[in-house]
Point group: C2
Chain length 150, copies 2
DNA sequence: TTCTTTTTCATTGTGCACAATTTAACGGCG
DNA sequence: CGCCGTTAAATTGTGCACAATGAAAAAGAA
């Protein structure tokens, strides 16, 4: 082991590169599980919110997923094209678009039943370790967002 | 706190969502640091490899960054357009393209000096914790790739 | 050598991310 | 009421990721 400087610029030392790789690796691991359902990973995330929390506006989806309308508008349009959700302007506020699961979108939930355990298994960690790691990562994430420069 | 099932499908419980968010948050944190240099984060990663390891083929870059030619070809073309690298077919193997830093590309390295410490500071962790977390994430990443289904 | 397979890179097409702008609707406020 | 700043989505444009395909060169087999 060579001694490393206090803050190394080496590629493999970078926390961001590790996160970037891990995120892509896990998303790739989801792909063969989601492909049969006709979903991408971001589409699956949007459905998770709808399954958990019911009809949501684009704004609400964006807050939960940390995504803006530039990403969500076309994504939701594709979910609508697949017959999984409907879009409706709110009568009480015509600016907002309420996204609601269709019957097909609701039923799709059952077919995602085994996905989580497969993903957790692929990480090679047991549940306590996985939860601890997830919390650490979430803390870093929150801290990075808080220290964003104006 | 409500008791959670063994493997929760809830959005906020998911390790992948945490990784996905953290990766985007850190990349966003890099953006104002890299914008003045005219670089994106993936372009910065490619330059890191070239700064560390010298002239590299597209294949070598791809192995280091876990990216394929479909991503790297246009990325390298943009680096070439910015005058930071040159591309040359290897005389001994005309299939391979060697990417070499130009003077400008080499000099750019100096202007990235303070970036790492700023990013590390933004995570809110000290160096030992940061290294431990990075290693854990890299382990998960490697395990996920190993357990990819055929 | 000739034929076949593999390797390396580029290209095409789809779907995110995200900045910047636009459009329409809402909420005051005079 | 008309005016104005704000807000919610959508749109536009750029740059990744990645699957799939194509093209050219190299390596091997017959």
């Amino acid at each position: 082991m060579s001694p490393s400087p206090a803050v190394s610029p080496l590629l493999d030392d970078q926390i961001c590169f590790a996160l970037y790789n891990a995120s892509r690796a896990l998303t790739a691991r989801y792909r063969p599980l989601l492909d049969p359902l006709g979903l991408t990973y971001p589409q699956y995330l949007a459905l998770l919110v709808l399954w958990e929390e019911g009809p949501s506006t684009v704004l609400h989806l964006g807050e939960r997923l940390m995504l803006d309308s530039g990403t969500l508008s076309p994504l939701v349009r594709r979910l609508e094209g697949a017959g999984l959700v409907t879009r409706m302007r709110l009568p009480e506020d015509e600016r907002s678009v309420l996204i609601t699961l269709t019957e097909a979108g609701d039923r799709l939930r059952e077919r995602t039943a085994g996905i989580q355990s497969q993903i957790c298994g692929a990480t090679g960690l047991d549940l306590p370790d996985l939860h601890a790691l997830r919390d650490q990562i979430a803390d870093v994430s929150a801290h990075v967002r808080e220290t964003a420069q104006p």
